[in-house]
């Protein structure tokens, strides 16, 4: 069974992002970039399925600029067998990314596609579901457990209020939630080995898809600042403030 794992290069989760001076976008100059944390979980799940003998090959794919090679190398160091970069100089919207991925997936014909549920830059939470629609695949979003059974997968999903288990026909899309697994770190020997793995670069222009923007970013600003309040010295003082000043408890 072949598994494709689309990943994304994003601002590292420790970076506090700010708008540019002219509010035209966020300021990404000289900030640390990493693999989106949910994509690490996706890679880990695919690699574990391979280690368990369920999967035969894990292919990491991304749509992005040349520097996204760095995150694909990380994916290879974490255990992916080969990588594909769909090179694109512009920042694409999720719909266009899903279209680009769908072309690669049609070509690779995997049984399973695992993606992160959302990227921590745009916080859109769209690409996996869109990809499922474009390919007419089943989808199991926000997965916390995946079991492969012949031509189906049984997936436990994190939903509001609890867990839901569904069975999806393969090929299918799974998007990862936090508790699916705990990703490993890449070891130095594996980072070295990753350099020898197969790495394809395709140009987005060759895929024959419309990637024009459907939305315009008009402004990026800071949210209203919340003022720090006061320190209280004791539980009594806290309760007194909540009752008489804030009036939120009686």
């Amino acid at each position: 069974m072949k598994i494709v794992v689309p990943i994304k290069r994003v601002v590292d989760y420790n970076v506090k992002v700010r708008p540019l001076g002219d509010q035209s976008d966020v300021d990404l100059n000289n900030v640390k970039m990493s693999m989106n944390p949910f994509c690490e979980i996706a890679i880990e799940e695919a690699v574990r399925l391979k280690e368990a003998g369920t999967a035969t090959e894990v292919i990491a794919v991304t749509v992005g600029k040349t520097d996204s090679q760095e995150q694909l190398r990380t994916a290879l160091a974490l255990g992916a067998d080969r990588a594909i970069l769909i090179e694109c100089e512009e920042l694409l919207e999720p719909l266009s990314i899903a279209k680009a991925l769908s072309k690669v997936i049609e070509e690779e014909d995997p049984k399973l596609v695992i993606l992160g549920k959302q990227a921590i830059d745009g916080d859109n939470n769209q690409t996996g579901q869109m990809l499922a629609a474009l390919l007419n695949y089943a989808q199991a979003t926000f997965a916390s457990k995946v079991i492969i059974e012949d031509d189906a997968a049984v997936v436990t999903r994190e939903i509001d209020g609890g867990l839901q288990t569904i069975k999806i026909k393969l090929p299918a899309i799974v998007t990862t939630d936090l508790r699916l697994n705990e990703p490993r770190y890449a070891s130095l020997p594996n980072i070295m080995k990753a350099k020898k793995k197969e790495f394809d670069i395709k140009s987005i222009g060759d895929l024959g898809i419309d990637v024009s923007s459907r939305t315009e970013l008009l402004c990026v600003e800071l949210p209203p600042e919340r003022q720090a309040g006061i320190k209280v010295e004791s539980v009594d003082e806290l309760l007194n403030k909540l009752k008489t000043e804030a009036k939120v408890i009686s």
Binding site: V11, Y13, K16, V17, V26, F38, E93, L95, A98, Q118, I120, D123, N124, Q126, T127, Q129, M130, A132, A133, N136, A138, Q139, T141, F142, S144, E158, D160, G162, L163, Q164, T165, I166, K167, D177, R179, R214, T215, L217, L218, C219, V220, E221, L222, P223, R226, A228, G229, I230, K231, V232, E233, S234, V235, L238, L239, K241, L242, A246, V248, I249
Partner: protein
Amino acid sequence: MSILVIVEHDNSNLKPATLNTIAAANAIGASVHLLVAGSSCQSVADECSAVEGVEKVLLADDVAYENQLAESIANLIKSVSSDYTHILAPATTFGKNVLPRLSALLDVQQISEIIEIISEDTFKRPIYAGSCIATVKSNDSIKVITVRATAFDPVNTSGGSATIDSVSAEGVSDLSSFVGEEIAKTDRPELTAASIVISGGRGMQSGDNFHLLETIADKLGAAVGASRAAVDAGFVPNDYQVGQTGKIVAPDLYIAVGISGAIQHLAGMKDSKVIVAINKDEDAPIFQVADYGLVADLFDVLPELSEKL
């Protein structure tokens, strides 16, 4: 202009986030229709028809929609979509699952989790865990939108008298099937609907210690939440998680206990009316957003708080 709101429900009752989504629809313009897709869910349609500001309720009552799986629901919405300029759903796990699938079927770039409406095609939404707010204009002919419930006050559940029209099942898919569900049974209010939330972080040290929060929650009629760190550490299930990748809450009172205040947690609670932080580290970033901070050991504070409530 005509706006369709996808109703979230459990075949018996409307889920409250739907009411906030209808409020967002009303803010965009008239006329607002609702789609109830479920099985034996006439009572939900009746409930919807009484909701203020709703003109029409579309009811798709079919066993195929019992568990509202994304493949069939997205096809159904697509089948009625041509009548609408906007299609909205709450940004809950239900809306987040279904709407992007619909969006791709319609060849539309969805706008996720809007928090403000500037005009019928321009919206504000948080990005980077709410570190920044983006103003986005959609040029698609149909706007597909998920709505952050806490950003809009719910509409009234009475005062409306919408007609109910039946729509037939369309594009039922067998790609996925329902196996089972484990919904946490609790007498406490739902996290996103509670007026008071008390959350624990890594400082709680173990899942067992969450009973300290639960005792207080029960006295206050509060819901219990957690930071991602507490979920990652396995103290509590993921559905407790408040933050960028969990639930967004905005209660009247939010009590953060043993939570340092990472950006990703603040993203889920900083719109709360009053924030209390209890942490023994006086430099914890949570104090920068707290109205009342208490620098103390939570294992001393919680029993005392519980006793004095």
